[in-house]
């Protein structure tokens, strides 16, 4: 079990930024670099100057809007309380925020088995690329690129880190899925008195699934990995840790933990994808058909 305290996590300001606009963040945990189910959870603060061009990923992303609104142009707007699924291969945006926002962002390896590069790998690559070009408005312009067209900033970083051209999987969904959890009904969890759940979506074993849990005071629920649980509200205990708002808990496969609420608590539970052979992404990605 990996418990990450929001309060204790240092606040970073992204130095070399492959997007545009102020970007402060706290790391709330990551998986194992090189594994197909590697992930990275962070909470991000942006101000009214954020811009990211229309782009797609070769990994899955889940976002939870905690404050302010984030616009994805014709793909919709995330409002506080909203949860979004941005699957690999599906283009979205451009993305802007005209106000201060706080957003939880989970990035994780997806069904195409391209994995997810760690934040350390990303930073090393972005710094190295900055020495031979510049990042501007979410694009990378290499000094020796005379075309002036540039390349998507993330793509440039990924290709540097992996030493090969990026290939995007064919899109499974035409658009990102923006969910309004407020419209879902809480249903009692049969095995846990005082606990209710809202099941948001499940795209099968190879993709991240999302649910909300509400745990009444003095009630508890047992969770089983692989998953990440993010505390949206409340306080209580998990093993030897005291949890509070915005803390995160990561459970590996078959790991179990009991969440015991002192105050009514609400959790966003993200069940990780399961891959039969979580081999290194560079080998696995070559095995699947890409567009």
């Amino acid at each position: 079990m990996d418990f990450v305290s929001f309060e204790a996590a240092p606040l970073h300001t992204r130095g070399t930024n492959h997007r545009q606009g102020s970007f402060r963040y706290k790391d709330l945990g990551q998986g194992t670099p090189g594994r197909l189910d590697n992930f990275y959870l962070r909470i991000v603060w942006t101000e009214g100057d954020f811009f990211s061009p229309r782009h797609m990923h070769n990994f899955d992303q889940v976002r939870a809007q905690l404050k302010g609104r984030f616009s994805f142009d014709k793909d919709g707007t995330m409002h506080p309380g909203g949860v979004g699924y941005f699957p690999e291969g599906t283009a979205y945006g451009p993305q802007t925020s005209a106000e201060d926002t706080i957003q939880l962002a989970m990035q994780i390896g997806a069904p195409s088995r391209s994995g997810y590069i760690s934040e350390e790998e990303r930073q090393v690559a972005a710094e190295a690329l900055s020495k031979r070009g510049r990042f501007e408005k979410g694009k990378y312009f290499a000094n020796d690129d005379k075309s002036g067209v540039g390349q998507d900033g993330f793509e440039a970083v990924w290709e540097y880190a992996n030493g090969r051209r990026i290939k995007y999987p064919k899109k499974r969904l035409e658009k990102p899925l923006l969910v309004n959890p407020d419209a879902f009904e809480w249903l009692d969890v049969a095995s846990a008195a005082g606990v209710r759940t809202k099941r948001l979506w499940d795209f099968g074993a190879n993709a991240l699934a999302c649910s909300l849990y509400q745990i009444g005071p003095k009630s508890s629920v047992a969770l089983s990995g692989p998953l990440t649980a993010f505390i949206l509200a409340g306080a209580g205990e998990v093993a030897e840790h005291r949890y509070a708002k915005y803390d995160a808990l990561h459970l590996a496969a078959a790991e179990k933990a009991r969440i015991e609420a002192r105050e009514e608590s609400e959790l966003l539970v993200m069940t990780h994808p399961v891959f039969p052979h979580p081999v290194k992404r560079s080998v696995a990605a070559a095995e699947v058909e890409h567009s």
């Binding site: 919709g76 291969g89 069904p111 999987p169 064919k170 899109k171 499974r172 969904l173 035409e174 658009k175 899925l177 923006l178 969910v179 309004n180 407020d182 419209a183 879902f184 009904e185 809480w186 249903l187 759940t197 809202k198 099941r199 948001l200 979506w201 499940d202 795209f203 099968g204 074993a205 699947v288």
Partner: protein, 282 residues
């Protein structure tokens, strides 16, 4: 278990509560006044078909069998796609002229997670006939000859019929999603399961009531023994032929309704592909 075949089911008359020509062949229907009532139809959509932007108080699944089916600006359901229209979520306007040709689609409309149920095709068209006394249906809108008690002259046609049939205002569930879920299902891999020649493609499941969509592929001579499920299921045979353990056969465009816990074996005599919908579990 209830099996119906497109080949032996007649097309209905051309009629629509919205605009333009559309013809239905209803293969299966559920039980009126239950939360999981449903209707499975083949829809022959003429190039003239139009429908204003609207939402439903029920869920809907659509696939295109021939051609391409428009459901909004820049949104066409192509052969191989699966589109899920959740209750309460707006979509459209639909305009088949944007495609420039007719299409053949399979549509399942069913009671969604909110438990509001589904007004049957019989109730819908009966209500439409009754309402003709009070006004006209034009382009998906019911235009009254005299104002309703609340002062309205014009109303979405489906809403007007629903309210007439139920004697109360229609209630729309809050939209769980901002847009319909449009799967490019052909891009998902098949996974071999449950014996040789049996493949599964999990598209996704949604809502607190676990509305689940998947595809099944059987090679010729493959035998599939599904696990009993706690939910009702609807199977639509996109292609293929075979026989259930009960002795019933399937062919291209057959449709099957399974009650909860019913799990007949399936023996394919020709390569088969089916869409499977798990109805909400209440």
């Amino acid at each position: 278990m209830n099996v119906a075949h497109a080949e032996t089911t007649p097309w209905g008359p051309a009629r629509s509560v919205r605009g333009g020509r559309i013809v239905f062949k209803e293969l299966l229907r559920g039980e009126e006044k239950t939360p999981t009532n449903f209707s499975l139809v083949l829809a022959d959509t003429d190039v003239t078909f139009k429908s204003p932007r609207h939402r439903h108080n029920f869920d809907q699944i659509r696939i295109t069998l021939e051609g391409s089916t428009n459901f909004g600006p820049r949104h066409n359901i192509e052969v191989g796609d699966v589109a899920y229209f959740p209750e309460g979520t707006h979509y459209g306007p639909q305009n088949q002229e944007l495609v420039g040709a007719a299409s053949l689609a399979m549509v399942i409309q069913f009671g969604g997670a909110a438990g509001h149920g589904y007004m049957s095709q019989r109730q819908l068209f009966e209500g439409q006939e009754r309402l003709r006394v009070y006004g006209d249906f034009e382009g998906g809108v019911f235009r009254r000859k005299a104002a309703a008690p609340d002062g309205r002259m014009n109303q979405d046609a489906y809403e007007a019929i629903w309210e007439h049939q139920h004697g109360r205002p229609v209630e729309y569930p809050k939209p769980r999603m901002t847009e319909p879920v449009h799967f490019r299902a052909a891009h998902l891999p098949w996974v071999e399961v449950n014996g040789p020649g049996v493949y599964w493609k999990e598209l996704g499941s949604f809502s607190e009531r676990n509305i689940r969509i998947a595809c099944l592929k059987l090679e010729a001579d493959a035998v599939y023994q599904p696990e009993p499920q706690p939910q009702e299921q609807i199977l639509f045979i996109i292609e293929g032929a075979g026989r259930f353990g009960s002795g019933e056969t399937w062919a291209r465009h057959s449709a099957v309704h399974l009650h909860a816990s019913e799990a007949p074996s399936m023996s394919a005599t020709a390569a088969t592909e089916a869409l499977i919908l798990f109805l909400p579990r209440f």
